[in-house]
């Protein structure tokens, strides 16, 4: 082995080595005595982009159609999001702590002024509560803007073809506003499907936004009407209005997605050019049966009743437990929990991380109990 030497005499190198400690000691002693920061700019911006749960006061309710209302919330803190994202809204309904994801229907810019709109079609438990019982002044809990049903300038074509079915219009209405105010720079050809003209929400607003970058085509399935397309959003209809490369974004019911899958094939759209927003997991069609779930949350243990037709998450919420949830479609992983024992079935495709299955983790929002279970769920933060 050779002898390393940098200075003429090796002992000088040794001395230098010895001085490293006194040198560092001195540097530490000579640091500034200024109090350490409590927060940092980048972290503060991050807190606007991901504000976490906060209180939101319902300040206005507006009827859009006979069964659809827009709710305006005033948040405690400013937030920002990308058009197309959703928030979870939660509150106590009859002893259950319930939460649901809703696409934001207002513009991202408004959220910086603490204003967030969601538009809700009355169709289920929580939406029914919102439409019938919620009133101005009520206080809810609002979660982080989430999801990636958004235009991406790197990935997507400059032309977005939006297909909205019913209340699936909400993310596109946000996107249209964002294009109009310059926060997004794509152009949008929006096919907005509804049963009849009366079922179209935001028609006046969308017509006002229409222009060079925004075009709206209304498609009525149950009504033939001058100035409207009739039927479903088909490949043919899309081709009638769009000729160049585009990214197809769809938000609506599952039946619409199944139809569009066929149309996308006719258009020979590669997978990267077709994006669908996920829908919440519903009940499953099996014989009703009860089972029991033992739940560990933090240092506490609870036992709750469950119905095998409903998801584990629903059982926990019904029992009044506050547990984390976001997308309710199995994809975001926010409700990531651990199975101690028991069995469950996943609704649709398994969207867990690979290692989760191996180590017994699952997503309560998209899993049905098949028998008694014991699980560990992180608390809602």
């Amino acid at each position: 082995m050779f002898t390393f030497k940098r200075q003429m005499f090796g002992f000088m190198d040794l001395l230098r080595f010895k001085k490293m400690i006194p040198k560092r000691r001195k540097a530490l002693e000579e640091g500034s005595s200024k109090p350490l920061a409590k927060s940092y700019r980048v972290n503060e911006t991050a807190h606007v982009l991901h504000p976490g749960y906060q209180k939101a006061k319902l300040v206005a309710i507006r009827e859009e159609t006979s069964d659809t209302k827009t709710f305006t919330f005033e948040t405690e803190r400013p937030l920002y999001f990308r058009a197309g994202q959703y928030v979870t809204l939660s509150c106590n309904v009859g002893g259950s702590f319930v939460s649901r994801p809703y696409a934001i229907s207002s513009a991202p810019a408004a959220a910086l002024d603490n204003r967030v709109n969601i538009t809700v079609k009355k169709c289920g438990f929580f939406s029914g509560y919102l439409c019938d019982e919620a009133k101005e002044g009520d206080v809810f809990t609002l979660g982080d803007p989430s999801g990636d049903f958004c235009y991406d300038g790197v990935r997507d074509s400059k032309t977005v073809v939006g297909v909205a079915g019913g209340s699936g219009i909400t993310p596109f209405y946000s996107l249209a506003q964002a294009i109009a105010d310059g926060s997004e720079d794509c152009s949008l050809v929006l096919f907005y499907g509804a049963r009849t003209e009366k079922d179209l929400a935001f028609k006046t607003e969308l017509d006002a936004l229409a222009g060079e970058k925004i075009k709206v085509v209304y498609v009525l399935s149950d009504e033939v009407c001058a100035g409207y397309e009739h039927g479903f959003v088909s490949a043919e209809l899309i081709k009638k209005y769009v000729s160049d490369d585009f990214t197809l974004m769809a938000c609506g019911p599952e039946a619409m997605y199944r139809f569009l899958d066929g149309e996308a094939e006719k258009l020979a759209l590669p997978r990267r050019r077709f994006r669908k927003e996920a829908n919440c997991v519903g009940v499953r069609d099996v014989k009703p049966a009860d089972c029991s779930i033992t739940v560990h949350i933090g240092f506490e243990t609870y036992t709750v009743k469950a119905d095998v037709r409903e998801t584990v998450l629903t059982a926990l919420e019904r029992a009044g437990l506050r547990v984390p949830s976001k997308c309710r479609a199995g994809g975001c992983g926010f409700c990531h929990s651990r199975l101690v024992s028991g069995e469950f079935s996943i609704a649709g495709e398994d969207k867990r991380r690979l290692a989760d299955a191996k180590f017994g983790y699952f997503h309560p929002c998209c899993s049905y109990p098949d028998a008694d279970m014991e699980i560990e769920v992180p608390k809602m933060k």
Partner: protein
């Protein structure tokens, strides 16, 4: 009130390892993590049909059962090796600087590395060989230092690790020049510098040599199901040993008194009585946000340190295979210049920085994504807080600006064509990292490996740093004595965990 022998704050690599060590040492331990998943940066996420690795390019110093590296030895001791499936990384790296006409692909294995370098830079063999001799001595000296808990005997050091002591106070560039290594060879050998985030005039030789050696000597490995697999394996291990683990649970304050640590308060107000804390978060966060009335001596020592790089990563899921797209290698470093000092300078601003460390995971693990697709990660570091001036309204466009530049550069430097095949994209910025792990300004590499605050003085001053801190409080993370990186954070957890077991015996 709940009582624990020790509370570990944060379930990143350092926190997970420390918790296992504590439980193995017989301590009743509670691990709290503010996020809903363990691992800190060591995690993964799904987009469409892809599962992206959040941070790990490759885990160094793992080796094989019969040529075990230090990390494998540690994992064996922790009892987690067999819970994880591993695959090897094929080549060390390919470094390209078009402007300076460098394009070198370097293999693992010291002999292979030395010979390949000789082909690129005739006449480099002897000096590169000597580099590895020194590096090996650095490794052995560190192992010795580890075995005595940092309390090294100077005489023993000089006798057994003389070369290490003689080179240990110099920067990388100082030593490589002293070895008369040809400039080109120095540049190619120095390519890993951005993994440590300090330029080669500043970075201590011992630190760099130790890392390069860990990569080249034993090759690199990765877990089959991304680093999330390691993190979950460690949580399982903690539970097997009787430790408690709480996710979605932040520590909001560490209670201290005349006799140091006395408890931890959690975000829901729960107070935990404990006399020992291992913090996986940074001293800046602990002393700035979790502890009241921090003594001035500690404030000074914390302020003295310099934040290292703030992270940025673009993740791409592509709808063609690596072969079809012309992506040849697993791991690329793309530089403007091979002069790390000049390059470091250009990495201060969003406008100027276009350095990237890029990985195509399929080149190491072909089946990591569905057939006919591949996944890539592009990472860079910002050496100053340029992202602090980006307002929320400008955020998405700033992301896009950098993302586009990364794609352009990759296509230009390698000839691969990826732009028209992006099926999924996700971009993490300093804001993402700030939020995810809570580190100040989105720093991902802890305190910079500056010359005065490099690996050796940190290791040697472990005992002194603890005495000058708060009784019962130790740090285990990329911010601590082993500096940043996966293996370093695991080792930090190992050291701090074992030390805390000793503290509990000594201090009660």
């Amino acid at each position: 009130m709940k009582q624990y022998d020790a509370v570990v704050i944060g379930a990143g690599n350092g926190g997970l390892t420390a918790a296992i060590r504590l439980a193995q040492g017989g301590a009743k331990v509670l691990l709290v993590e503010k996020h809903n998943l363990p691992g800190g940066f060591a995690t993964s996420f799904r987009r469409g049909r892809f599962e992206f690795e959040a941070s790990l390019h490759e885990l160094n110093d793992f080796g094989t059962p019969d040529n075990a590296g230090d990390v494998r030895v540690l994992f064996d001791e922790l009892g987690v090796t067999d819970k994880i499936e591993w695959f090897p990384i094929p080549d060390a790296y390919r470094v390209i600087s078009q402007a300076e006409k460098i394009d070198a692909t370097m293999p693992f294995g010291v002999d292979a590395f030395v010979e390949k370098m000789e082909r690129y830079v005739p006449g480099s063999r002897k000096s590169v060989r000597r580099f590895f001799d020194l590096a090996e001595e650095v490794r052995l000296a560190q192992a010795y230092s580890n075995s005595v808990g940092g309390k090294t005997d100077p005489k023993y050091m000089v006798e057994h690790y003389g070369n290490f002591v003689r080179c240990g106070s110099y920067s990388v560039n100082e030593v490589l020049r002293a070895l008369h290594m040809p400039k080109r060879a120095r540049e190619i050998l120095g390519a890993y510098w951005c993994y440590l985030g300090a330029h080669l005039d500043d970075m201590s030789f011992a630190h760099y040599a130790s890392m390069v050696n860990r990569y080249i000597l034993r090759g690199a490995m990765s877990p089959k199901s991304r680093s999330h697999e390691i993190s979950l394996a460690m949580v399982e291990r903690i539970r097997e040993l009787g430790g408690d683990v709480l996710m979605n649970t932040a520590a909001v304050s560490i209670l201290t008194g005349d006799d140091g640590v006395r408890g931890v308060v959690l975000d829901d107000g729960t107070e935990i009585a404990t006399r020992h804390v291992v913090a996986n978060c940074s001293p800046h966060v602990v002393y700035g946000q979790l502890i009241e009335n921090v003594p001035e001596r500690i404030v000074r020592a914390t302020n003295a340190r310099k934040f290292s790089g703030r992270g940025f990563t673009m993740f791409l899921g592509l709808d063609k295979s690596a072969d079809e797209l012309g992506i040849e290698n697993h791991n690329y470093f793309l530089y403007d210049t091979m002069d790390s000092v000049a390059q470091y300078d250009k990495m201060r601003t969003i406008e100027e920085n276009s350095v990237q460390a890029t990985v195509c995971l399929n080149r190491a693990q072909p089946d990591c994504s569905p057939e006919g697709t591949c996944m890539m990660y592009f990472t860079t570091l910002y050496m100053e807080d340029d992202w602090a001036r980006i307002k929320p309204q400008a955020y998405f466009k700033a992301k896009e600006f950098v993302a586009n530049r990364m794609i352009d550069r990759f296509e230009k430097d390698t000839g691969a064509k990826i732009r028209d095949h992006i099926e999924e994209i996700s971009v993490a910025t300093p804001m993402t990292y700030a939020r995810y792990c809570g580190h100040p300004q989105g720093v991902i590499y802890g305190y910079e490996s500056q010359y005065w605050d490099g690996l050796m003085p940190r290791l040697q001053m472990m005992g002194e740093d603890y005495k000058n801190g708060i009784r019962g409080l130790r740090f285990a993370s990329g911010w601590s004595m082993r500096l940043s990186g996966y293996s370093s954070a695991y080792f930090a957890g190992d050291i701090a965990g074992r030390q805390t077991v000793g503290d509990i015996k000594r201090e009660g």
